[in-house]
């Protein structure tokens, strides 16, 4: 699509903030227009990385699960980890990548609970890996409009 989507969103957001919002009354509607403009700006920020961050994260989680299979003691969980780690993303629509990400992050919670209960050096190393991945996951999702 040309002009580029990010450029269109940028122009629309600037227009809403600068040209439209100041002339809208009452203040509640003005704030709504302003919020809509900020939403467009956020979509613009997210747009370029929207598929990449999901693909990267899903791959990172599958790699983590592959490492975890030798550490966890629960056979059912181990089997689910093996199955998940053998998967890959073949459908790059956002809805499909999100569905995969939701399933992987649900499994990550299960793994995290199990690892916390294990008393071994390997479990502690894996736990550290889980935290590192969780920290990276917040970097991938970070938006510039947040206060932190």
């Amino acid at each position: 699509m040309k002009p580029e989507i990010s450029r269109v969103l940028e122009v629309c957001a600037i227009g809403l903030m600068g040209d439209v919002a100041p002339h809208v009354a009452p203040s509640y509607r003005q704030a709504t227009v302003f919020s809509t403009a900020v939403i467009l700006s956020s979509v613009r920020e997210e747009l370029d990385r929207i598929a990449e961050r999901r693909v990267v994260e899903n791959a990172a989680l599958r790699a983590l699960f592959a490492d975890a299979t030798s550490v966890v003691s629960d056979p059912g969980l181990r089997q689910r980890l093996e199955s998940a780690s053998a998967g890959s993303d073949t459908d790059y629509r956002i809805s499909a990548l999100d569905a995969a990400n939701d399933a992987l992050r649900a499994l990550l919670i299960e793994l995290h609970v199990q690892v916390e209960s294990l008393d071994s050096d390997a479990a502690r190393r894996l736990e550290s890996e889980i935290w590192r991945e969780l920290s990276k996951s917040t970097e991938r999702r970070k938006l510039s409009l947040g206060a932190f």
Binding site: Y28, A31, S42
Partner: protein, 341 residues
Amino acid sequence: MSELADRIADYARHRLGDAVERVDGVERIHGGASRETYRFRLHTRDAGGSRERRLILRRDPPGSLIETDRAIEFNAYRAFHGTSVPVPEPLWLEEDSRWLDHPFFVMEEIPDLEARPQMVVAPPYDAHAEKMGLQKWTILGEISRADPQERGLVGVMEGVSAEGAWERELSHWVGVIDEDELAPQPIVRAAIRWLRAHPPPPAQKIAVVHGDFRTGNFLYDTEGRIHAILDWEMAHLGDPLEDLAWGINRVWCWARDDRVGGLLPKPRAIRVWEEASGLRADPEALHWWELFSCVKGQAIWLSSAREFQDGKNQDPILALAAWMQVNAQDRAALELMGRLT
């Protein structure tokens, strides 16, 4: 809005009789996410002549960010009106939906002031950040110092033991996350497990907890004076450290530096609160409540996303709040758990 003005006028006549002439100037404003908020002018006439009063209507919406009891909010305003904790005067609480379709309450408007949180770091307000911070944390100390019995809030708000305050609050907000999350939340789930495994000491006292005491929920002027504490919709009885921890949460660091609420460095804010409240912020207990505040915050942002997604309330501010704060709240939780790399 003229139909709403007429209906408000009918209600005012129900309260004040024929002295009510008319209602005008009805305008919806942003005022907390759980209720529709309107300002209006009430015109009355008595032996002394005509009077105009600027008032605020807070009405329950069909869906809201936080499901709360408007009677608790109204009674919290009533409890602190006329004390060292500045609040608008509450006038009428109406539970009967026949007047305005939903329950509501009416209170005084304190006009021509700023409330937006981001403005504390913008001119001319930023020059008064320290002054505002000292007032803000002193006022919170006054709230924490207050005796709920003397303020008439025992019986209005659900009682809780000093030992049980943390568990009740944690269970409540975990329940909200269980119900409203649209996607798995591994960070907040880890935080919840840690909180349950490391309970805090009993509360020093059972205090009035504002429930949402932060920059953004008070009115201030260009000289940095705070005129009113608003949005008592989540007020309850509990551990006073809950309010302190919520107010110093990282997600309210609007100046993007170490000043909590965009106003004062965290150690100073805590000292001011301790002096005003006469209570101690034990570091370990406060740490527990800070991490709890990340769980509570996440519950609110996830509910916001759910409300918008399900179409119960499609104010864009709900989508924006979820986009902006879910990630910031996760990062705040990671930082508190020493896991933000």
